[in-house]
Structures are given as C-alpha cells and as structure tokens.
C-alpha cells in the first residue's frame, strides 16, 4: 500500500484516502496508477546500474571476459549437484514477461521468442511496442541458433553473446560467491543454443532513472563498468529451446522473484517437461497480447508441441531453501546475502511450498502434458494462501538487495484468488517512488478499473501472530480517518426524573424479590428444634399422665342453660342434627355434643335425624352415636338403634342452596322439634343460620342449638346474642358446664377437661416464659448496643 504525503501537514496517508486523515486537507491523486487509455512513460534504467551489488558486478565482469571466448560453445546440460539456489531461477522468465520497451540488455536474453510459432497466437494486440516487433511470435518465426544481432549499446551487445555462451560443465575454481551463479547459468541454459534476441535499441537509462530516484543526490555517478556488470543477467537470460505456452501473469508480481529461487530436479529422474527460462519468454509475449484478467499457466509448463524430453522432471524448486543447507559445497557457493535466506525460519509456517511440488504428479515420459487451455489457465505458482515458502522468501529478501529488486511488486490486472496470497514482503516495496518506475513496470500496474473492482492485496494485512499467522486479508481493514466512518452519537437514555424514579422503584422491587433472606445460624436453628422437641415432649408427657391417671381435679361450673332449653322440647319429638364438621374435629365436637344428645335421649327420648353437610360427615354419624354412648347397649349406653331411634339422612348437597331447599320443604322440616347444628366451620354454619332465618318465622321459631368447635364459636356467638340461635355450645368449655349439670354424662368432657385445663395452663406458662426470655434477650441486646 503506497502512502500519499499530505501537502499541508506533510504526514503520510493511505493512498485510498481522498483527504488527509490528520488535517483533512485534500490529498493529491495517486500518480502511480495508470488509467485506462494512458500510455506508459518510457523510463531509462541505465542509472540503476550503480546500485547493483559489487558481487554482481564482479560476476558480470568475469562472465563477460569468458563470453568472448566461449560464446559459440553450446552449453552442456546442467548438473543438479551444482544447481544454485532457486533464488534467481525464474528471473529470466520474469524479465521476459515484460511486453514492451524492454531494455536492450533484456532483449538479448530471449532468443527463444523467435520460436513462438509453437505457442498459441496471442490475443489481439492493437499496437505492440517495438520490442514486440522482434519478440512477438507472429512477427518473427522462431529460429534456432541464430546469432545475436549487434547493438550500439555495449550492454545490449554483451547480452546476446553471453546468452549462448556455454557454461562450464564443472567449475574448476574454488567455491566462491559467483559459483552459484555459474551453476545457475549451467542449469538454465537449454540443450540447444537459442538465438539471442537483438536489442531494440533502448538503453538502460530507465534503470538509471530508477536508481536516481531511489538514491537521489546521495549516490555518486555510476561507475564506468556498469554496463559490463550486467553479464550475470546475461546468463540468467538463457532460455530453453521450446517456448512455454503459458505465462505467469496471473500470479502476484513477485512470482518472478519466486522463480528466482526455483531449482530443477536432479537429472537422474526423467522428466517430461523442462520449465526452462525459455518458457518464460512465452508468457512474456502472452502478457502483451492476452487479456490481462486471465491467469496464465505456470511458466514451467511444457507446451503440447514440445517433443523433446525436458531436462528436469519437475519445475523449479522454490522452497524450502533450508534443505540446501546440508550441501556444504552449495553453502560455500552461496553468497552471503542468500545464506541468511537459507537459514531455518524461526516460526514454523502452516504449510510448505515443497509440499505443493510433492503433490504434483510428474508427467510421464510417454504422455506429454497438454498445454493449459486459454479458458482455464493456471498460475505460474499455484501456491496456497499462507504457503511455507513465504517465510523463506521473507528471509531471503531481508538481506541486502538492490532497490529495484525490493521495489513494490506489481499487482496483476485481475488476480485470481490464489494470486491474492502475496508474499509478506510485498509491503517492503513501498519505498520505491511510484513516479520513477520504468514504463514496462508501469504497464503491468493495474488499471484503475481493475483496482476498483478487485480487492487489492496490498490492502490486506498478513497476520503475523496467533492462529491466523500467515493468512492475508482474514481481518478486513477499516481505514483510519475515513470519511465513511459513522459519526458517533450519544447512547445516553433521555429519561425524566419521574421515569428514573419509577425505574429505580422497579429495580428495587425486583431486587427485593430475588434477594435471598439471610438464613438463621445453624446453632440458632438447632436451638429452636431442641426447644420444639422439649415443649412437645413436655406436653405429651403432661397430657398423657393426666389422661393415664384420669385426673379430675379441676372444677367445672355447671350451667343450666342447656337443660332449660331441652326441657321445653316435646317428648319423643324428632330432632334434626346437622353434621357439618370434618373428621379431624370429630373428637372435639363429639365431646361437645355429648351432653346435648345425652340429655335429649335421656330426658326427652328424642328421635335423631342426622344430615350431613359434607360428604365425609355422613360417615361420622355412627361414630358420634357410639362415642356419646347413645348407640351402646344399656347400661353402658342408652341403647339407641339406627333406623329406630336415629336416622342418617345422608349427605345434603348444594351448600346454602341445598339447605334452603331442605329447610323450605314444610312437610319435612316442620316436624322437627329442634335443630342441632354441629359445626366447625363458620361459613357453613352461618349459611344454615341464615337460611333458617330466611325460611320464615315458623321455621326460625324452632329452637336452634349450635354446637361449635372452639375455633368457630366466637364468630357464631353474635347469632346467639341476636336470638337467631338459642344456644351456642363453645367446644369443651361450654359442654363441660352442661355435662356437669347432667351428672357428668356421658363423661367424655370430664375426661378431657383436666387435660385440657392443664394443657392450657402449660401453654400459658410456656408463652409467658418465652415472652420473658425474648424480653430479656432484647434488653440485653439493647444494653450491649448502648455499651
């Protein structure tokens, strides 16, 4: 990603911003893009010569000296043992990919371009540059062994001479820095000598311009021998005999740098295709003729027309470079700046480029590989994203490199998804001034339309840490200071005080509902359990002792109210007895109703008709008659027999309505001399009293005796005070008085009376003691609090 310097504040801004992210000043348009219809500006690269490293210059000088004597000797087949590192293996293919206005020194390294008749004709090219006039397959047929044309430029003349110069089969000299380059020449030179490409007449001034832009005024002038130093490039320009039908244009621009590191397989393995440098010239031609958006086949792919077995069964080996570390001879022949690249990377990569090569099936000898169809071209290096070779390349380019090699990699016009995985050193080229790029580099830059439609790999950041390390563009970038950034707005809720108060109240209510109440301490709970058990045991022991011993020590004041009421009833008259209590209160109500029933049966020989106000009450009739000794035979009981002395009418459904209907039948209800209501429920008994009152004066005039449980009697007492009920027997307390007057018959209340009396006294004592204990505790707490 190139930066644009703000003319106002002088700070760097991303190139995609229209305004400065610091001062909001408008930024000048990026000038490195080439718009549609614009012609690239020719640049002179001759000034780039001074920036070449010395070792390259030395090598070139030596090779130039040798080239004069050995130019006509065909180069032998390269030996794999002497193969140099694959750093510069693909350099020629990349250099040949330049379509127009190649420098003279580059024109001479592509003699195989004349043999382009084997390659498919390129797409329509409206106006090929002069360079293509010589290199385009349609313009000039291929010719083998054609001598290089002379050129005015020494460098251009030097290139064709050295291009066909056979490399020595084995290096006799001691290992040195230039040995690896010699080996490189040896394995890249094809079996058959290829004609040198005549120079187009263009000098290396664009390189000088580029160098001047990079170095500025600091660099001195170029040395006099700069043109001869390009001899090393002459070797790299050796091309094979057969042209390659595909081009690596679809790959990232730095693919040609990867090709530099490609090495061939050992010669012991037969290979059907030889990815020689001459194939790269083919894609170079296609680059200028084919559609830029179409990816091309690998540069090392052999065309279908090729009949000769390739020199190497596999394409260039690009990674891992560290495998070469074991070769001591190669280590010695490796230049210093390349040794660093061969070292083991510190962080393991998620994949390995060599794995890709392993997965590729080497083509057999019998079946020649078919050239990739134009519709489905393949990239030069089908590297997956996050390939392991990238770290090696990173290390490779961390060494001292010429500025023009470390320049901004060019983006393909329409990169395929694979091509988006650019090596991580793509960002390092930002230091190269875009305006000083040579024309042929500018021609490879993406046009504006392609940039707008395809994602730029430069905008994608390669993750360096974490599980996404090595991946590019996983996390999209958002430009800082972009005008597309949404404006911040306040999220504070605008609420009035009343709304806030209501919200606080609601929050308080919710908190109080969900707040756990503090549990009592275990010691306190245990103490309460012990107290409860102690009181229970005390009550059980006292009551059981009183009942067991049959104590009858408490006095019972007799009352004649009940006797007076009963004495007014006619003899042997039917008495309606309403059973309106649950079985749980049967013990109390049976004891309370005992004196009434005993006096009625004993003194009046009344006929009892029982009716139940609840379904379960109907079964309590026999129990009542038995426990009151009425149904017991004489002399322990009164000998009352069912259906003769008493009748069980069963359950009366309907509650108050049923009672009203039962009371409203004068034929059945008028015959009762009295009504006795045995109840433990206030509501049901009130309903009976109300319906009797509502039935009319005749019915309401009948005596009503209410025998109520102690829990219901206080609520029914007003009806006795109002005269609606002649008598209300309040549990055992009133029953004991009536029983005492009746010579303690039937005696049930008397049995319970002492136990009840002592139990109530014990309860009062317990309550009092508990109250005093609690009061003392409270006082002690207050005293402690005061202290």
């Amino acid at each position: 990603m190139a930066d644009i310097r703000c003319p106002n504040c002088g700070k760097e801004n991303p190139d995609f911003l229209d305004t400065c992210q610091f001062c909001q000043s408008p930024l000048p348009p990026s000038d490195w893009k080439i718009h549609i219809g614009e012609e690239p500006t020719p640049k002179s690269t001759g000034e780039l010569e001074p920036i070449l490293p010395d070792w390259l210059k030395d090598i070139r000088q030596q090779e130039m000296d040798k080239a004069e004597d050995e130019i006509l000797i065909p180069p032998p087949k390269p030996k794999v043992q002497q193969e140099p590192p694959d750093l510069l293996a693909g350099l020629m293919s990349q250099s040949e990919s330049e379509e127009e206005e190649l420098p003279d020194w580059l024109k001479g390294i592509a003699p195989s371009l004349k043999k382009e008749e084997a390659a498919p004709p390129p797409a329509a090219q409206p106006s090929p540059p002069p360079f293509f006039g010589e290199t385009h397959p349609s313009a000039e047929p291929a010719s083998t062994g054609a001598p290089a044309e002379p050129s005015a430029d020494k460098l251009a003349a030097w290139f064709p001479e050295n291009f066909n110069q056979p490399a020595p089969q084995e290096t006799d000299s001691a290992p040195s820095d230039d040995d690896w380059l010699k080996n490189l020449e040896a394995f890249t030179v094809p079996e058959e000598p290829a004609p040198a490409q005549p120079a187009a007449g263009e000098d290396l001034s664009w390189l000088r311009d580029l160098e001047a832009a990079a170095k500025g005024a600091e660099e001195p002038t170029a040395p006099a021998s700069s043109e001869e130093d390009l001899d090393w490039l002459n070797k790299l320009g050796a091309v094979p005999q057969e042209p390659a039908p595909a081009q690596p244009a679809a790959r990232e621009d730095l693919d040609w740098l990867k090709n530099l590191s490609a090495v061939t397989e050992p010669p012991t393995e037969p290979a059907p295709a030889q990815p020689a440098a001459g194939e790269d010239s083919d894609w170079l031609k296609n680059l200028g003729t084919s559609e830029p958006a179409q990816p091309s086949a690998p540069a090392f792919a052999e065309p279908a027309e090729t009949k000769e077995p390739p020199a190497s069964p596999k394409p260039f080996q690009t990674a891992p470079l560290n495998e070469l570390l074991g070769d001591e001879a190669l280590r010695d022949a490796t230049p210093d700046w390349l040794k660093a690249a061969l070292e083991e990377p510190k962080m393991p990569a998620p994949g390995d480029l060599s794995d890709w090569f392993d997965r590729q099936e080497p083509p057999s000898k019998e079946t020649l590989p078919t050239p990739p169809s134009p519709g489905a071209p393949t990239p030069a290096f089908d590297l997956p994203a996050g390939d392991s070779s990238l770290p090696d390349l990173d290390a490779l380019f961390n060494v001292e490199m010429p500025d023009w090699l470390t320049g901004e990699p060019e983006k393909p016009v329409a990169p395929s998804p694979e091509t988006t995985s650019a090596p991580p050193f793509a960002e390092e080229g930002e230091i190269l001034a875009p305006a000083e790029l040579p024309s042929w580099v500018q021609a490879m830059r993406p046009v504006e339309s392609a940039i707008s439609s395809t994602p730029s790999t430069a905008d994608l950041v390669t993750e360096r840490e974490g599980p996404l390390a090595g991946f590019r563009g996983v996390i999209p970038l958002s430009p800082i200071g972009s005008s597309l950034r949404p404006k911040p707005f306040s999220l504070k809720l605008q609420a009035s005080e009343e709304q806030e108060a209501a919200a606080a109240l609601l929050e308080h209510l919710i908190e109080s509902e969900t707040a756990a109440k503090p549990s009592q301490p275990a010691t306190k709970a245990a103490a309460q359990h012990a107290l409860r058990w102690a009181l229970s045991a005390l009550f059980l022991l006292v009551l059981s002792a009183i009942l067991w011993l049959g104590l009858r020590v408490l006095y019972i004041p007799p009352s004649s109210t009940l006797s007076d009421l009963i004495s007014a009833l006619p003899d042997a008259s039917p008495v309606l007895i309403v059973i309106d209590y649950d079985p749980a209160f049967a013990g109390e109500l049976e004891a309370a109703a005992g004196p009434l029933l005993d006096q009625l049966a004993l003194s009046k020989h009344s006929i009892f008709e029982f009716i139940a106000a609840s379904p379960t009450a109907s079964g309590l009739v026999e129990r009542l008659m038995r426990n009151t000794n009425l149904s017991k035979p004489f002399p322990s009981g009164l000998g009352y027999r069912p259906a003769e002395h008493y009748f069980n009418l069963g359950y009366l459904p309907g509650g108050a309505a049923g009672a009203a209907r039962f009371i409203g039948n004068p034929q059945t209800f008028s015959r009762y001399a009295a009504i006795a209501l045995l109840t433990d429920n206030v509501e049901s008994s009130r309903g009976w009293i109300e319906q009797l009152e509502a039935a009319g004066p005749q019915i309401s005039a009948k005596p009503l005796i209410v025998v109520a449980s102690a829990q219901a009697a206080p609520m029914l007492q007003p009806y006795a005070a109002s005269g609606q009920a002649q008598l209300v027997v309040n549990g055992l307390y009133d029953a004991a008085k009536y029983e005492a007057l009746n010579v303690s018959r039937p005696g049930t209340v008397r049995t319970y009376w002492d136990a009840l009396g002592f139990g109530l006294m014990l309860t009062i004592v317990a309550i009092f003691i508990g109250g005093v204990w609690n009061l003392s505790l409270r006082l002690r707490e207050q005293r402690n609090a005061m202290k």
């Binding site: 069963g650 109300e690 009152e693 319970y752 136990a755």
Partner: protein
C-alpha cells in the same frame, strides 16, 4: 374386645403415631399417613356422592311419567354437562350448568346474608344497648363502640394536609386506633379457639391411645 374393634384401634394407634412423628420433622411416615387420610376421605366422599346422590335420584325417577322423567333428567344432564369442562373444545357445554350453580348459589347466599345476618345483627346491635340497666348499657356501649371503632379502622379515606402528608381526621384516627384494639382482641380470641380446638384434638388422640393401651394391657 372384638377383633374388628381391636384392628381398628390398632390401625388408629399406628396412624396416630405416624402423624405425631411430624414432631421430629417431615418424614415418610407422616406423609404416608397424610396421603392415606386424603385418599380415604376423597374415596369415601366420591362413594357417598354416587350412592347418596346419583343412584338415589336415579332410583326415584318416575319412569312411567314422561314429564316428570324429563324434569328429573334435567339435573343429570346439567351434571353431565359439567364434565365437558374437562375438555377445552367442548367446555362451553358446561357453562350453563356452571352459571346456574353460581347464580343460584350467589342469590341464595345473598338473600340469606341480608335476611339472616345483616338485618338481625343490626337489630341486635341496637337492642343490645339497654338504657334501663347499667350492665346492659355497658354491654351495649362496648358492642357499639367495638362495631364503630372496627369500622373506623377500615376507613381509609383521607385528605392531603398542608404539609403534603396524607393523614386521616384526628377523630377518625383515634377511632381507628381503638378499633385496632378490638380487632386484636378478636383475633386473639380466634387464635385461642383454634389452639383450644387443636389441643382438644390432641387430647382426644392421646386418650384413644391410652385407652387402647389400657385395653390391650387389660388395665
């Protein structure tokens, strides 16, 4: 002691002890006894209803008189329609019977409350004040004061004071305070009655246990 009485007494003794076991906390014995009581009571109630209500009414249907038979079948139809309440789709079939039950019950209760409680109790409260005797005057005065004060306690009408506070009238506030005393006494009496009833039930159970033990021991 007959065998039936002995067995029933023994069962009652065991069940009583199981209920008493709640003193040491909730336990399976207590729960078993409670569930047994609930089940037996429910079953007995159902049996009583079927035997004393449904079958008894069906047996009394006049099969020869179609008009009376039709009238006699109406309660059964209404009762059967109540079963439709068990099924949501046809629950509306029981609405009429349910409305009839509620309406008739409310009307009966209202008429009985007015004629059997409201009017007689009002008259009794007035008549309780006997100006001819001091005890009658005191009793009547206490009853009247208790009634007025208790009603005043449940009077929550108030006006906003000058300082913004909402308080009842001072006289009404005093009457409400006195009514609170009457209410407390009434609730105390009710609680005492409940406790007395429970204590009586306990005594009855203990007496049954002691009686069983004495009879079992021949004492």
């Amino acid at each position: 002691m007959p065998v039936v009485e002995l067995v029933s007494a023994l069962v009652g003794f065991v069940l009583t002890l199981m209920v008493f076991s709640y003193l040491i906390g909730d336990n399976p014995l207590f729960r078993f006894a409670v569930y047994l009581f609930i089940g037996v009571a429910s079953g007995y109630a159902a049996a009583v209803i079927v035997n004393d209500i449904l079958l008894a009414r069906l047996q009394t249907l006049p099969l020869t008189d179609s008009a009376r038979l039709a009238l006699g079948l109406i309660p059964f139809l209404l009762a059967a329609s109540l079963l439709a309440k068990l099924f949501p789709r046809v629950a509306w079939l029981g609405s009429f019977a349910m409305a009839l039950l509620v309406g008739v019950g409310a009307a009966t209760a209202l008429a009985g409350a007015v004629s059997g409680t409201l009017i007689p109790q009002s008259e009794a409260a007035v008549n309780a004040v006997d100006l001819r005797s001091l005890p009658g005057l005191l009793q009547g005065s206490v009853m009247l004061a208790g009634t007025i004060f208790t009603l005043a306690y449940f009077q929550f009408g108030a006006k906003r004071a000058a300082d913004g506070s909402v308080r009842r009238n001072a006289l009404l506030e005093a009457a409400a305070w006195a009514g609170r005393i009457f209410i407390a006494v009434t609730l105390g009496v009710l609680f005492a009655g409940v406790y007395t009833a429970a204590l009586t039930a306990l005594i009855e159970r203990l007496n049954s246990l002691i009686t069983f033990i004495k009879s079992f021991l021949g004492l």
